[in-house]
C-alpha cells in the first residue's frame, strides 16, 4: 500500500548497521514480539513496582504522613513505569545484553505493513514517520486544551470551568506545546531527512534516535496523567515556591519534562554526530543544505541547554521528595535559582523552536523561487549566531524580578543583538526571491506565512526586550501574543510547510493542493485573527493566565476565542487533507513533485532500507538553480574499479534538454 514507507527487500536488513548487528530474525508471532502493547503492559507493571517501592521507602516520612501525599511513590512509579514501557518495547534488551558482553540483538527489521510503526525500530525513516504522527497528535491535544480555556475567557466574570481546571489546562497547554513540540521539526524531518540530505545510508546512533522517540509517548502519558491528580498550577514555567507548594500533579510535570529532556538530549547527540561524521564524500560543510545546518545548530544548543533544564527539574524533584531546600528561601535556598536555571534553558529553548523553522524556510524558498539560496554563508552564520547568542539573553525574563538591575542594559543589548542574526533569515529570503521565478504552492504559502507572522513576532520581541516598554508588557497578553507569533506563526507554519513539502517523501503521496490551500488561508487568517487582538489585550492591561479580566476587554477576548475555534477548524481541514490523500484518493505522487535539486529527492519511493544503493558522491550545492552547466547534485559511483556511475536524477536538467 502507498503508506508503506520503507521498502523492505528481504535480506537487506542485515547490513543496516556496521556495529556487527546480525541479520534480523523473524520467528515469533507478530503480536508476541515487542511492540507498543507490551510497552503498555510493562508500563503498568513498572508503575506498580515503583509505587510500591516508594511507599515502602517513604510511608513513614513526616511530610508524607502530614500531607497524605507520597510524592516519592508517585515519582518512582512514573520512572519505573517509563522503564517498563521501554522494556516492553524491547529497548532495554540492548543495554542489558551489553552488561554480559553479548552482541546486542538487533530488533527485527523491515517488515512490510504498518506493524513496524508500533515497534522499536532502528530505521531512521520509520522513526521519522513515527515522530511525525506523534507530534501531530501532541499538537492537536495541546490545541484542544487551548480551545477549552479560551472558552472560559469568553466572559470576564462568569465561569464555564473552575479556576483550578482553568489553570491546569493553561499549564497543560503550555507544557505540551513548549516541551513536547520541541521535537516537532527535528524529530520527524530531522531524523527522516538528514541522512538523505547528507547522503548517508544510516544515522550514527539509531538506538539513541529510537529511544528519543519512545521517550516522548512516556512523557506525554505522564504529563496527561497529571490531570487525574489535580494538575499543576504553575504553567509551563514551573516557578519555584508555587511548584514546591503544589500538589502531586507537579510531579507529573517534573517527570515528564525530565523524560522529554532526555529525549531531546539523545536525539540531539545522534543528530549532531550524524551530521558531523556521516556526510557523503563531497558533502562539504559549504554544500550542506541549510536545513541540515539548522539541525546542527539546534542539536548543539540542545546539548548545552537541555542539561541545565534537566538539572533544574531534578533539583525541584529533590525539593519535593527528599526535602532539600534549593528553592525555599527560609532554609537557605532561593526562588531565583529556579528562574535562572529554567530560563538558562528556557530562552535557548525558544530558539530550538525558531531555528528548525528557519531551516525549512531557507530550504524551501530556493526550490520555489528557483534560484540559489541567497547569501548561503551569511545565513548559516546567522543560524549559528542565533544559537550562540541565545545563551546570553535569559535574564530578560527576569527584568521585573528584582534581581541584578545593573545587568539590565547588558541583557537588553544581547537580546536586541540577537535580532541581527535573526534578521539574516529575512535577508536570505529577500535575496532569494529577488528576480525569482516564484511558484506558489502550499509549502511556499506556508513559508510566506511564516515570514509574515515571524516579522510581527520578531518586531514585538524588540518591544519586550526594551526594559521600559517591558515594564508594561511583561507578563501580559502582549508577551503571549508575541511568542505565539514566533512559535505558532513561525515554528508551526514552518512545520506545516515541511509536512506539505516532504509528505511525498514520507508516504509517496502528495497532499491535496486544493485542500492545502484552504488549510493555509484559513489558518493564517484565523491565526492572525486570534492573536493580533491579544497584542491589544495585553497592551490594555490583561495579565497572562488569568481567568477573570477587565470588562472593557471582553470584546477583544471574545473575538480571539471565536477565532481560536475557527483556527481549530482550520487544523481539522489539515487532518482531513491527510485522510483524503492517504485513505480516499491514495494516488502516488511523482518522485520529485517539487522539481527540487535536493539530494533527498533523488531517491525513488519507497525509500530503500539503506536509502542509497551505494554511498553517493556529492558534486554540487543543492541550490544551484539556474547555474549554467551545473553538475548533477550527486553521482553514485560504481563499485571499486569500475569507475563513475550515472548521475542521480536531475529533473530540471532533463527538462532543459526536452525543452
Amino acid at each position: 500500500m502507498a503508506l508503506d514507507i520503507t521498502s523492505s527487500p528481504a535480506g537487506d536488513g542485515g547490513t543496516l548497521a556496521t556495529g556487527g548487528v546480525p541479520a534480523a530474525r523473524r520467528t515469533r508471532n507478530d503480536w508476541l514480539r515487542p511492540n507498543v502493547l507490551w510497552g503498555l503492559v510493562g508500563a503498568v507493571i513498572g508503575y506498580a513496582i515503583g509505587h510500591w517501592a516508594g511507599n515502602a521507602i517513604a510511608h513513614n516520612w513526616q511530610q508524607v504522613q502530614g500531607s497524605d501525599q507520597n510524592n516519592v511513590s508517585l515519582v518512582l512509579g512514573y520512572l519505573v513505569g517509563s522503564v517498563g514501557f521501554l522494556a516492553g518495547l524491547g529497548i532495554v534488551n540492548y543495554p542489558l545484553a551489553k552488561l554480559v558482553g553479548r552482541q546486542p540483538p538487533a530488533p527485527e527489521e523491515a517488515q512490510p505493513g504498518l506493524g513496524k510503526f508500533f515497534r522499536y525500530t532502528l530505521d531512521h525513516k520509520v522513526v521519522g514517520a513515527q515522530y511525525l504522527v506523534a507530534m501531530i497528535l501532541y499538537f492537536m491535544v495541546g490545541g484542544l486544551f487551548a480551545l477549552l480555556f479560551r472558552t472560559e475567557l469568553l466572559s470576564p466574570t462568569s465561569h464555564v470551568i473552575t479556576p483550578d481546571a482553568y489553570i491546569e489546562l493553561v499549564g497543560m497547554h503550555g507544557t505540551m506545546m513548549m516541551m513536547m513540540m520541541t521535537s516537532a521539526i527535528i524529530g520527524p524531518f530531522g531524523n527522516y531527512l538528514v541522512p538523505l540530505m547528507i547522503g548517508s545510508k544510516r544515522v550514527a546512533f539509531p538506538r539513541l534516535e529510537a529511544l528519543s522517540l519512545w521517550l516522548t509517548p512516556a512523557a506525554f502519558v505522564v504529563l496527561l496523567s497529571g490531570l487525574l491528580i489535580g494538575g499543576f498550577p504553575t504553567g509551563w514555567t514551573g516557578y519555584a515556591p508555587l511548584a514546591v507548594q503544589a500538589t502531586q500533579g507537579m510531579d507529573s510535570y517534573l517527570v515528564s519534562f525530565g523524560l522529554m529532556a532526555l529525549s531531546l538530549l539523545f536525539g540531539a547527540v545522534n543528530m549532531a554526530a550524524t551530521i558531523i561524521s556521516h556526510r557523503a564524500p563531497g558533502m562539504t560543510f559549504g554544500r550542506l543544505p541549510i536545513f541540515v545546518w539548522a539541525m546542527l545548530s539546534t542539536a548543539s544548543i540542545m546539548v548545552l541547554a537541555v542539561p541545565v533544564l534537566f538539572a533544574g527539574l531534578y533539583l525541584m524533584l529533590m525539593d519535593r521528595t527528599w526535602q532539600t531546600a534549593f528553592f525555599t528561601w527560609q532554609h537557605g535556598g532561593s526562588p531565583y535559582l529556579w528562574e535562572n536555571l529554567f530560563w538558562f534553558f528556557g530562552h535557548p529553548e525558544v530558539y530550538l523552536l525558531a531555528l528548525p523553522s528557519f531551516g525549512i524556510l531557507a530550504e524551501l524558498l530556493p526550490v520555489f523561487a528557483r534560484k540559489p539560496a541567497f547569501g548561503y554563508r551569511t545565513v548559516v552564520a546567522g543560524l549559528i549566531g542565533v544559537g550562540v547568542l541565545s545563551f546570553f539573553v535569559w535574564q530578560h525574563h527576569l527584568f521585573m524580578s528584582g534581581m541584578n538591575p545593573d545587568m539590565r542594559p547588558v541583557v537588553m543589548l544581547t537580546t536586541e543583538l540577537i535580532s541581527v542574526p535573526t534578521g539574516i533569515v529575512y535577508l536570505g529570503a529577500i535575496g532569494t526571491l529577488w528576480r525569482a521565478k516564484i511558484r506558489i504552492t502550499v509549502p511556499m504559502l506556508f513559508c510566506l506565512g511564516l515570514l509574515f507572522n515571524f516579522l510581527l513576532g520578531g518586531i514585538t520581541g524588540v518591544f519586550i526586550s526594551d526594559v521600559p516598554a517591558d515594564t508594561t508588557l511583561h507578563g501580559s497578553f502582549f508577551v503571549l501574543a508575541h511568542f505565539h507569533y514566533t512559535i505558532m506563526g513561525g515554528y508551526m507554519f514552518g512545520f506545516f510547510a515541511g509536512v506539505y513539502y516532504w509528505f511525498p517523501r514520507f508516504t509517496g503521496l502528495q497532499l491535496s493542493e486544493k485542500i492545502g490551500t484552504w488549510h493555509f488561508w484559513t489558518m493564517i487568517v484565523f491565526f492572525n485573527s486570534t492573536f493580533l487582538p491579544l497584542f491589544a489585550v495585553g497592551l490594555l492591561g490583561q495579565p497572562r493566565r488569568v481567568f477573570e479580566y477587565q470588562h472593557r476587554l471582553q470584546g477583544l477576548n471574545d473575538w480571539a476565542t471565536i477565532s481560536a475555534y475557527l483556527l481549530g477548524v482550520s487544523l481539522l481541514i489539515f487532518l482531513w487533507n491527510i485522510v483524503w490523500t492517504t485513505a480516499i484518493k491514495n494516488r502516488p505522487s511523482s518522485m520529485n513533485p517539487w522539481h527540487s535539486l535536493g539530494l533527498e529527492w533523488t531517491i525513488p519511493y519507497p525509500t530503500p532500507l539503506e536509502n542509497f544503493d551505494r554511498v553517493p558522491v556529492v558534486l554540487s550545492s543543492p541550490y544551484d538553480y539556474g547555474v549554467p552547466d551545473r553538475p548533477p547534485v550527486a553521482v553514485v559511483p560504481e563499485p571499486v574499479g569500475v569507475g563513475c556511475g550515472p548521475a542521480l536524477s536531475d529533473p530540471v536538467r532533463e527538462e532543459d534538454q526536452h525543452g
Partner: protein, 318 residues
C-alpha cells in the same frame, strides 16, 4: 541546451525594469505617510497612558519603538508584496531564475543597518531606563536608579505585601499600618517595597507603569511619581496559583489634601491592628516569630539605608 540557458546577467539587467527603485519609492511613500500617523495619531493612545512619570516615559518609549518598527515592517511587506506580484513564474512552467548567490553590498548594508538600529535601540532603551528611575520596574533590594531628590517632599514609602491571593499595603511613613486600599498623593514620589509572604506574585499597577515581582524573602523596590488624579488597576502579573486571575484591586491617585485626610482616617481605623502585626521590615518570614504573619526579617546586607527601622517610628503623614 540552447533554449534553456538562463539569460546572462548583463542582458537581464538591461531588460529588467528598475525593481529596486520602484520598491524603494513605494516604501518611501508608505513610510512617509504611515510613520507620522503612527507616532502622532496612534502614539498618544498607546498604553500605559500618562498617569505617572514612569507611565509617560514608557508611553514615549513605545511611541518611538512603534515609529521605528513601522518603516521596517513596511519595507518587508512592500518587498514581499512586490516580489509576489512581479517575480512570478508562469503558471505551470518550471523555469530557473538568475543564479544570484549573494550581493556583497546588500548583505553588508543589511547587516550594518540592522546592527546600527539595534545599537540605537539599546542606547535609547538604556537612557529611558535610567532617566525616570528604573522605568517603574522592580529593581530589587538595592536599587541603582532612584529618583533625583530635587523636590523637598519626602517620598512616600509604601510596602506592597502580596500573598495568595490579595495585595495589602503598609504605609511606612505613617506608622506602618496595613490596609487593603491603595491611595497615592499626586506629584509626590512613591517608593514601592514589594514583597511576598508565600509564592512569587507580581505587583502591576497598570496605569502607573509600575511592575515589580513580589518574591518571598526579597524587598523589590520600584519608583514612580503619579502626575494625574484618577483610578488605576492593580493586578498580579506572575502566576501564583488558582486564584491568580482574581488577584486585583484598584488604587487611586488623589490630591495631597485628600490623601492626608484618607491617611489619618485609615490610620485611626487600623490602629487596633497595629500591635498584631510584625514590625515593618523589608520582608517577612511567615514560618517564624509571633506576629500576624511571622516575623520581620532584616536583610543580611543592604548597600543603601533601609527606610524601615526609622520610618516605622516616624510621625504620621510626614
Amino acid at each position: 541546451m540552447s533554449g534553456s540557458t538562463p539569460p546572462s546577467p548583463t542582458h537581464a539587467t538591461a531588460a529588467q525594469p528598475r525593481h529596486a527603485l520602484r520598491i524603494f519609492l513605494v516604501w518611501l511613500v508608505l513610510s512617509a505617510i504611515a510613520t507620522p500617523l503612527v507616532y502622532l495619531v496612534l502614539g498618544p493612545h498607546l498604553p500605559p497612558g500618562g498617569m505617572s512619570d514612569s507611565a509617560a516615559s514608557q508611553q514615549f518609549d513605545m511611541k518611538v519603538l512603534t515609529a521605528i518598527a513601522t518603516p521596517v515592517v513596511l519595507f518587508i511587506w512592500t518587498y514581499f508584496g512586490y516580489a509576489l506580484i512581479f517575480f512570478r513564474s508562469q503558471r505551470g512552467v518550471i523555469e530557473d531564475g538568475p543564479p544570484i548567490r549573494g550581493n556583497r553590498v546588500f548583505q553588508a548594508g543589511w547587516l550594518g543597518i540592522t546592527t546600527a538600529l539595534v545599537l540605537f535601540l539599546f542606547g535609547f532603551g538604556t537612557y529611558e531606563l535610567i532617566h525616570p528611575a528604573g522605568a517603574g520596574a522592580g529593581e530589587g533590594p538595592n536599587p541603582i536608579w532612584s529618583p533625583v531628590s530635587s523636590s523637598s517632599t519626602k517620598p512616600l514609602e509604601v510596602q506592597v505585601i502580596a500573598q495568595q491571593w490579595q495585595f495589602t499595603y503598609r504605609y511606612l511613613n505613617a506608622g506602618g499600618f496595613e490596609t487593603t486600599q491603595l491611595y497615592l498623593p499626586v506629584d509626590r514620589p512613591v517608593v514601592f517595597h514589594v514583597t511576598s509572604l508565600d509564592v512569587i506574585h507580581g505587583f502591576w499597577a497598570y496605569q502607573l507603569g509600575v511592575k515589580a515581582d513580589a518574591n518571598p524573602g526579597v524587598d523589590n523596590v520600584a519608583f514612580t511619581t503619579p502626575t494625574q488624579l484618577g483610578r488605576f488597576e492593580v493586578r498580579c502579573s506572575e502566576l501564583c496559583g488558582i486564584w491568580h486571575g482574581a488577584m486585583y484591586n484598584n488604587g487611586y491617585v488623589v490630591s495631597a489634601g485628600a490623601f492626608s485626610q484618607w491617611l489619618t482616617k485609615e490610620q485611626q481605623r487600623h490602629a487596633p491592628d497595629l500591635p498584631l502585626l510584625p514590625p515593618a521590615a523589608p520582608y517577612y518570614n511567615p514560618g517564624a516569630g509571633g506576629g500576624f504573619y511571622g516575623s520581620g526579617q532584616e536583610p543580611n546586607a543592604t548597600a543603601t539605608p533601609s527606610p524601615f527601622p526609622s520610618s516605622v517610628t516616624s510621625p504620621a503623614g510626614s
